[in-house]
């Protein structure tokens, strides 16, 4: 079992050509300890998804340094598993084939990969749907399958880009609690991008609050709530207190 650490220093992202450029993000300084769960919340358009794309290596930073386990980031890595807002399952492949995609692409040994895929599908209650096509599944089930796929190659870090954003409220809550349990079992480093404050607190060890464009870190709040967390955690006085604090920070004017 291994979890990755992450550190960003002076990271910025600028889109477009000189003269008409948009300053989307940063400068951002952030350090994430191995095995911690960090939630990032902020208004839409604050560059939080850009932040994830930079950390994922899908886009280069315009300036600054990003290091994973002390080594500078050069691009996407097999040590990182990503769950996107959309499930991004291939409609022509079965659920099992979709979950096995990382093994196919990375050329991992077939039998152990298959066993792990089936194990993950069982853990997420999808075993009976292994042979089904994605269009047969509900939104929540598809997103569970996307989680299985992200976990297949046993990544050291999970990047979650509003993974429950496209789901209805009930499924959201159910899945986020499931993710909380799953994460505790696995003990991997996780970075969650979300616009849902409760979700951010329920899942995170820390909640990072970002300001509107250009996205900067406005506050970094530790969540000192006991684990395992469940539905009742949301009623805990401390939870409500943190929630109020986060809300105040999000809606505060920059000069306050």
């Amino acid at each position: 079992m291994a979890a990755a650490s992450l550190s960003l220093s002076g990271v910025t992202k600028v889109y477009g050509r000189t003269g008409t450029e948009t300053h989307a993000l940063g400068p951002i300084d952030l350090t994430i300890e191995p095995g911690t769960f960090v939630s990032v919340v902020g208004p839409s358009g604050c560059g939080k998804s850009t932040l994830l794309r930079l950390v994922a290596g899908l886009e280069p930073a315009s300036d600054g340094r990003i290091e994973r386990d002390g080594a500078p980031l050069t691009g996407p890595s097999r040590e990182v598993g990503i769950v996107f807002q959309d499930h991004v399952l291939f409609p022509w492949a079965s659920i099992l084939e979709n979950v096995l995609l990382p093994a196919e692409v990375l050329g991992l040994p077939k039998a152990p990969a298959r066993a792990r895929a089936l194990h993950l599908l069982e853990m997420t209650g999808l075993k009976d749907f292994a042979g089904a096509r994605p269009q047969m599944l509900s939104g929540g089930m598809k997103q569970r399958a996307a989680f299985c796929r992200a976990l297949l190659a046993d990544p050291k870090m999970l990047l979650l880009d509003e993974p429950f954003g496209a789901l209805d409220a009930l499924t959201r809550e159910e899945l986020s609690l499931e993710l909380s349990r799953l994460w505790q079992e696995l003990g991997r480093t996780a970075l969650l991008i979300t616009h849902d404050i409760e979700e951010a607190i329920l899942l995170g060890d820390r909640v990072i609050i970002m300001s509107a464009r250009p996205g900067r870190i406005r506050a970094d709040i530790p969540v000192d709530l006991a684990r395992p967390r469940d539905v009742r955690t949301a009623q805990h006085p401390r939870f409500i207190e943190i929630k109020q604090q986060v809300r105040d920070l999000i809606f505060a004017r920059p000069n306050d």
Partner: protein
């Protein structure tokens, strides 16, 4: 329960019944107005002629079908790799697309005499004309399909450190499959027309040749019979491609 099959049966019968009514009306009108057979033959006369000329119709159908299918398959084999090159090499796109577009814009009827001049009056010039009319709809659809891979799926593949080849084989080709078939369906109907164009210019056999010679000799019923076979051939080939499509594209894109 006993009532439910009835509307379905009625739906199924609508088309044949309408066709039958039209046929009867045709027969009745030609009889009533005494239209000369060499202008517009009666359906019954066409049927009798078709029966009498069945061996000739069959052998000529075989020729036209062979030209059509060989040309279509060749067009498919040529246009798919060409589409890949155009989709992934901007230079190739800049050089090839104007040429292909120009070639597509030339009326194939105007090109057919030249092709016959260069290749003679056998089956190959017809195959070449079929390729010329077929490749464009296939090519355009495949190029569009290869470029249609959604950004989030490309991000997923890139996040898995997939090579360009792996992205092509596991993602782009499969995204391009559903648009390939509409292109093929358009192409196959063009293909039948293409072989007839070739046969009209110069040929020794084929359904187009049969239509040309029989109208020249005022054997209009035979021309109609050949025309009918040609239509059936085109429709059958269209549905054959649709059947392949249903077996291959089993997902909703």
């Amino acid at each position: 329960m006993a009532r439910t099959p009835r509307p379905a049966m009625a739906d199924r019968l609508t088309t044949p019944i309408i066709y039958l009514v039209l046929l009867v009306a045709w027969e009745a009108c030609t009889r009533y107005f005494r239209v000369p057979g060499w202008v517009l033959p009666m359906p019954s006369a066409i049927a009798t002629t078709a029966w009498e000329w069945a061996p000739e119709l069959a052998s000529n159908t075989l020729v036209t079908m062979r030209e059509t299918l060989v040309g279509f398959v060749l067009a498919l084999v040529l246009s798919v790799p060409l589409a890949v090159v155009i989709a992934f090499a901007p230079v190739a796109r800049r050089i090839l697309y104007p040429i292909l577009l120009g070639l597509q814009s030339i009326p194939k009827v105007a090109l057919a005499p030249l092709v016959i001049l260069w290749l003679g009056i056998g089956e190959w010039p017809k195959v070449v004309i079929v390729v010329l009319v077929c490749f464009f709809p296939i090519l355009v659809n495949v190029v569009a399909g290869l470029e249609a891979a959604p950004r989030n799926m490309l991000d997923l593949m890139r996040s898995l450190t997939a090579t360009q080849l792996s992205i092509f084989l596991r993602l782009r080709l499969l995204v391009a499959l559903p648009p390939l078939f509409p292109g093929c369906k358009v192409a196959i109907t063009f293909a039948v027309i293409g072989s007839v164009i070739g046969e009209f210019v110069a040929a020794q056999d084929g359904l187009g040749y049969l239509i040309l010679t029989s109208t020249a000799q005022s054997q209009t019923p035979l021309a109609f019979a050949a025309l009918l076979v040609l239509t059936v051939l085109s429709v059958v080939l269209f549905y054959a491609i649709e059947a392949v499509e249903r077996r291959v594209v089993t997902w909703t894109p």
